[in-house]
Each structure stands twice: as structure tokens, then as C-alpha cells.
Symmetry: C2
Subunit: 120 residues, 2 copies
DNA sequence: TGAATATATGAGCATATATTCATATTTAAG
DNA sequence: CTTAAATATGAATATATGCTCATATATTCA
């Protein structure tokens, strides 16, 4: 039993099904990128930031105050959200206003919200 | 400038907007649970497992073979998916068949998929 | 130009997590 | 009962990550 081969014998594997499923799998790169996207959503602070931005564009300072977190922590997370192209920003003097940059986020969150409510 | 208070002065904060946004925020517990859900989606292995289950119910052995990973690794991740109530299982002798247990997953993934494709 | 303010960022630390390895558990078959 | 096979699981390790702290950058205003 090596690492590469499965633990079970070929006779027990459903070879045909596995082959067919493998053919219909999306490209590995897409699955990786999808996981990366959800990883961004997988943090309470970022979720909270995005929910504030659902309602209104807001500056870093406002967000930090609203969520009762340090400016630094918020800024770091906004950087992550920017990297994932989920938010955009505009500068007005020294103030930087962040807003949503994707119309899928709300739909994704709504679906997730339904899941966590129905599983109880 | 303490940790608790924001970095900026009250005059620069948009107090009214912040107050209104705060009132319309979903309960903290729901945001936490939502983040926990997306955390489960935020791993390539689990994403790959779920995509195989979109197509067909499958045993642990099949999944490990299909994804070229050890049985142990798959089993650990299936445990996580089970904990999130995303998959169910049925036993047939020593073989355990896993399948999807939530109709929102596909919708969530489809939306995410659109995001990662459109952002290029 | 100099002080003040809003934001960004790098380093460090504490924590979370994905995989491996060894082993336990469960069930079938002889 | 004994062996074999499929799955589950605990411990350990390596890596990733969120926050803090200190500080840099950028912009306004006097």
C-alpha cells in the first residue's frame, strides 16, 4: 500500500464511475481559485466588513469604529479584499472610501445565509 | 489613541451613516456562522471533494483514488464536511458512501465561479 | 515648511489548520 | 475465531494567517 495508490483493491473501486466523474471535473486551476475566493470569505472580520459595505460605501476609519477594531486590522483586511477584487476604493483627500466591486457577493452570502439557517 | 477608539476624530467620522449601518447589521452570531461555512469551502481539497459529489455519491476509497490523495486525508476532510452538514453518508458493509446534503452548495459555487471568471 | 490626520505596511507572535503516520474500529469472509 | 479490507481518528509537524505594534506614506492646514 503506497501513498500513490488507494487503500482499497481495484475490485472494490467503482472504476467506471470514477473515470466518468474525473472527465467532468472543472479545471484544477478554477477549483483552486474558487477555494481562494472562499478563503477570503472565511473570516469573521472580512464578512463583517463586506456586510457594512453592502449598505454603504465607507472610509477605513468608519469601518474600524463601527466594528470596534483597530485601523490597522481593518486596513490589513481591506488589502486582502482588494487583492480578491471584491472591493474598490476612491480617495478624497486623506480619506479613502471603500465600496463593493462585485455583484455576486450578495448572492453568495444570501445562499450561505439560507444554509446556516436551515440546518438547525 | 487607545486600542478601543478609532484613529480619527469624531468630526471626520460619518456618525449618522455609521449608526444606521450598525442598526441594519445581521446578528453577530450569523456572521460568525457564515464565516465558518465559507471557511469550510476555503480549501482546495474540500472543494474538489464537493465537486465530485455534485456528480455522484461516492465511497471514501473512490474519492481518494480520484483525487490522488491518501485515504486518511480524505477521511479527515469528509469529517469536516460532515460537521458542517454539507454531506451525508450511508454504510453498505464496510464501504461508506458519501453524498451531498445541501442544495445551496451548487448555487453558491456557481456564483463564486462566475466571480473568478469575470474578474480577469 | 511643519504639525496633524487618515491610511498603509512590515515584522513578530499566537493560533489555526492540512497533511502524514500510526493505529483503532468496523465489517466481511474464510 | 482469525484475517483482511475500508474507514476513522489521535498525535505530530509544517504551514498559513489574523492581529498588534511600530512606523512609513500621503494629504491637509496653519
Amino acid at each position: 500500500m503506497t501513498e500513490q495508490s488507494p487503500c482499497c483493491e481495484v475490485t472494490v473501486i467503482h472504476e467506471d464511475r470514477v473515470k466518468q466523474v474525473r472527465q467532468n471535473m472543472p479545471p484544477e486551476e478554477n477549483l483552486f481559485n474558487l477555494a481562494e475566493l472562499f478563503k477570503v470569505f472565511g473570516d469573521t472580520t472580512r464578512i463583517r466588513i463586506l456586510y457594512t459595505l453592502f449598505q454603504s460605501e465607507m472610509c477605513v476609519c468608519d469601518i474600524a469604529y463601527l466594528l470596534d477594531m483597530t485601523q490597522s486590522a481593518i486596513s490589513h483586511q481591506l488589502r486582502v479584499l482588494k487583492g480578491a477584487k471584491l472591493v474598490r476604493y476612491r480617495k478624497e483627500g486623506r480619506v479613502v472610501y471603500y465600496s463593493l466591486d462585485d455583484e455576486h457577493i450578495k448572492a453568495i452570502f444570501d445562499q450561505g445565509y439560507q444554509h446556516i439557517q436551515e440546518r438547525n
